[in-house]
Symmetry: C2
Subunit: 192 residues, 2 copies
């Protein structure tokens, strides 16, 4: 994994992939799948992600104030499905059951999921409690970002030059995903 310039971190989510959200607090670590994540700002880079109040992930993020957001691949489809279906509250060994391998992020210790094509460590923005309450919405600043150079370099995704199993996943429903697909280049705009 190669560090991503923080001003380009928003591009890791710009195309709308399904993500894995990692959390850790007081010796407990969890990873869940989330389809509802997006960039919120460029520079300082910020993201928004929806994490249900009933989840262990939410409890750990609320307690620690930090989280990770990683972009999994086609090769990881069954892991993502399992991470979305199992609860860390009910399955204390969820990470083992899901075959999720992690390493600790350097600044915060949140779990970065191995095999992902992008990894971010994030700090929850301080004034979001009033949003989080009614809407399960977490707003966070990205303080570290990494990507797999085979598919992301010079601030851009380049899926077309890499093996198809490295493409991002985009969840529809019930374990039915699409991989990101072919390049579409629009015409430049004159007199904008």
């Amino acid at each position: 994994m190669t560090p991503v310039d923080l001003k380009h971190a928003y591009r890791l989510l710009n195309h709308g992939p399904t993500v894995l959200v990692g959390s850790a607090h007081a010796g407990r670590t969890n990873v869940m799948a989330a389809a509802w994540a997006m960039p919120l700002d460029f520079d300082t880079p910020k993201i928004a992600v929806v994490v249900d109040k009933s989840t262990l992930t939410r409890a750990l993020i609320d307690a620690s104030g930090v989280l990770s957001v990683c972009v999994p691949t086609v090769a990881m489809k069954d892991l993502v499905m399992a991470a979305g279906a199992m609860s860390g509250n009910n399955q204390p060994d969820k990470l083992d059951r899901c075959q999720i391998h992690i390493q600790e992020a350097p600044q915060t210790g949140v779990p970065l999921v191995q095999g992902c094509i992008a990894q971010m460590e994030c700090r929850v923005l301080p004034a979001t409690a009033h949003v989080a309450g009614p809407h399960d919405l977490i707003l966070a600043e990205v303080i570290g970002a990494w990507a797999d150079e085979r598919v992301f370099s010079q601030g851009r995704w380049h899926f077309e030059n890499a093996p198809p199993e490295l493409r991002s996943l985009h969840h529809v429903a019930g374990g039915h995903f699409y991989a990101i697909g072919e390049v579409v280049q629009a015409l430049p705009v004159a007199n904008a």
Copy 2:
């Protein structure tokens, strides 16, 4: 376009497409492109979308309290690029220049963009001013939804059975998009 059951409306954005955001107030109508949009809740269906404070779209939404969110296709790539690059503030005839054809949504009159594979009309949630301020974030309830039956039926996308130009667009940077790609089916999870 066929009505979508509101409890399935979140699925129109679940896979992370780039969208067109429509607005109308006091005789002015605008449409802009936005890559930062996601579902926020299932039922009642809600969405979150980032719309910069400097835009005409934002002014019209703030004044009217309503907006549309539509999902454009590969066939509409140049329209989407133009709608993202041109400002309705500087170009009063932006819709003509972008070759955007609209119809008014039945409940709110917001512009629904023709040729899109999904269309939603939405009402801004009342308590979001404090979020919108610092973060340009709009939270809204979906009150009407439609989709193109060739690619969305029975509450699910079915891009694999339709012409490739009907696939959704996922923006990377600078007019460089990916189309949504191939189906990836994960294994069901036992003992979740």
